[in-house]
Symmetry: C2
Subunit: 355 residues, 2 copies
């Protein structure tokens, strides 16, 4: 007998985006928000005392649930706190999927989904997007126990209309998890679907829109029938006392949040236009990153590949994300940075593309 299950022995594990330790870098590879979190978060952090560290946290984070419920117009019982959005993905797959209950999602998408599915040894049904990343019609008839749609999608930055997701939820026999990790940068969200369908769960993250990637805080929004089941699967104390307090302060400061998001959206627009001017093919983004296709028209006679550009940028201490998989290996995923960071990227790109 091996020490581990066969499916665990076989798998490679997830590789997170590279986290450089050097400080003078332009880090546009893991979709962090370039602006700091709300000053209200820092005030709450400064007020944390030893007693909050000494005692166990509230197991379900009721302070956060209350604040999130008010924000979204739902009840606290419709909210579940998570140790990052990834915690919810793991919980949902463990709650819904096993060897006889498949997981389905369109591809390309967030590369953690298959890793988590392999951990549960459940059947994977990957349905390819078309060239415009429209919702695949086949997703409605897979028979999966859990269907995940990342919307806006990573790494394509595209957005599927909420009514299309409503139609999908309406016909699916299982659960529809809409991964809204990037929805803060889109024009709409799917909260209304939670009120219309008992099989829809939304994933939210404070890593991007709230500049709190270091905190690991996400949450679910769903009907109480789903929340009550997911609560059984979550670790009994999955979020710590500091995270609950800081996350609550963050979502209560909607004024700061909206201004932050507006800045990122404006920077995104400029970055998109400038990348297009360099000859890259860049679709409109509903996220805090853009997906740029390389090789349409370049100054140099033999244009460098996306992988080569990725490497040459890294040598200049500029980090973007490159996925060496079919459909993505001619593209770069670039997080929207500060205007200064974006300028350094654009200058380096211009140099590399002209060589």
């Amino acid at each position: 007998m091996g020490y581990f299950r066969d499916n665990v022995e076989r798998m490679a594990g997830y590789t997170p985006g590279f986290q450089p330790t050097a400080t003078d870098v332009v880090k546009l590879n893991t979709n962090e928000n370039p602006y700091p979190p709300s000053p209200e978060v820092m005030k709450v952090l400064a007020a944390m005392g030893p007693e909050q560290l000494r005692r166990y946290p509230d197991p379900v984070g009721n302070a956060f649930r209350q604040a999130a419920a008010e924000l979204h117009g739902v009840e606290p019982g419709n909210i579940m706190c998570c140790n990052g959005g990834d915690d919810l993905l793991s919980i949902a797959i463990r709650a819904c999927c096993d060897t006889s209950r498949p997981l389905a999602y369109p591809v390309p998408t967030y590369s953690l989904y298959p890793v988590l599915a392999n951990l549960e040894d459940c059947e994977l049904i990957e349905v390819p997007f078309d060239g415009q990343y429209n919702l695949p019609a086949k997703l409605a008839s897979t028979g999966a126990a859990l269907t995940i749609v990342c919307n806006p999608n990573a790494p394509t930055a595209t957005f599927i209309a909420i009514e299309e997701l409503a139609s999908l939820a309406n016909v699916l026999p299982g659960v529809l998890l809409i991964d809204e990790a990037y929805v803060d940068f889109a024009e709409r969200d799917a909260v209304e679907l939670v009120k219309r369908f008992d099989n829809v769960v939304l994933l939210r993250s404070l890593s991007k829109g709230y500049s709190l990637a270091g905190l690991r805080f996400g949450y679910a929004i769903a009907g109480t029938n789903l929340i009550d089941g997911l609560l059984k699967v979550k670790d009994s104390y999955n979020v710590d006392a500091l995270s609950i307090a800081l996350a609550t302060a963050a979502i209560k400061d909607q004024t700061y949040f909206r201004a932050n998001v507006q800045k990122v959206k404006a920077d995104r627009q400029t970055l998109t236009e400038r990348l297009r001017a360099l000859g890259l093919v860049v679709g409109d983004s509903a996220t805090n990153f853009v997906l740029a296709r390389v090789g349409a028209r370049h100054v140099s006679p033999v244009p460098p590949s996306a992988g080569q550009i990725h490497g040459q940028l890294a040598r200049r201490n500029i980090f973007v994300r490159y996925f060496n998989v079919p459909g993505l290996d001619d593209k770069l995923r670039i997080s929207v940075g500060t205007p200064e960071q974006n300028e350094r990227l654009l200058a380096a790109l211009q140099e590399i593309l002209s060589m």
Copy 2:
């Protein structure tokens, strides 16, 4: 098709110990350390800036791994950071157990083990302790993929000699997880077994000995063969940036840690003797709590049951833990508090037992 797996639908979920929100309470029900964390922890907390919140944390917490490796005389590759010790339990069971790979442990013990096993839908082999809570010989021959021994054990507060665990590790075909959440209050630990056996993993927690229950930080110590497999199963960013920094500061301050533990041990000795003087049967404890059996000799003609005492203490805002299950339903688990808290408990107990 139900939205959830059948085993999830059937299960009730884990019930954490009651967390009272009132402030004037004597809270001896969840084994928190009564003394605050190290001042070094608070210094690091005060120095945390927005940049540490904005960026993703180190996925494996190398700063902590380095500090823990130095403390235990192992390599950083022998350490895995976890979101509380419970995270490691979940990871180990997911890595090792499934419907054809059972989990075994002696009972009574930590009541989370069967909850996690039910989540994986794996066979449970519960081997009863004898009356003195010695290691059951039958544990060596269950054929389990994963065997968990909580040592010191909760809620019995008893300790199994390390050489007995070595003999067990030597004959087990699968993995032996020694849950050392309370080992800071014992006289020995099992770190040497990690160096002698490739199938031993230790669980450590900063919740008790380091007064950091609010932080959710635990870790594994094991051979790299086991750590590398467990790392594949853990969430990619399972511990946040604040927790890594604060946990690292805590284990580096061994002077404060040792003084804290010595105080709790001295308080434990006094509490044990005073409970015995009240007629309760209390074994020697290797943890920061005691297990007290009710009903041996009392002043009143019909002595109250453990459950009744638990309720009457709660009405006085004094909280201890009561498990309404066979073998434990005549006992109370009482965390060692400050001398003042222990006195309030003892005075209330004397009053209740004399009624």
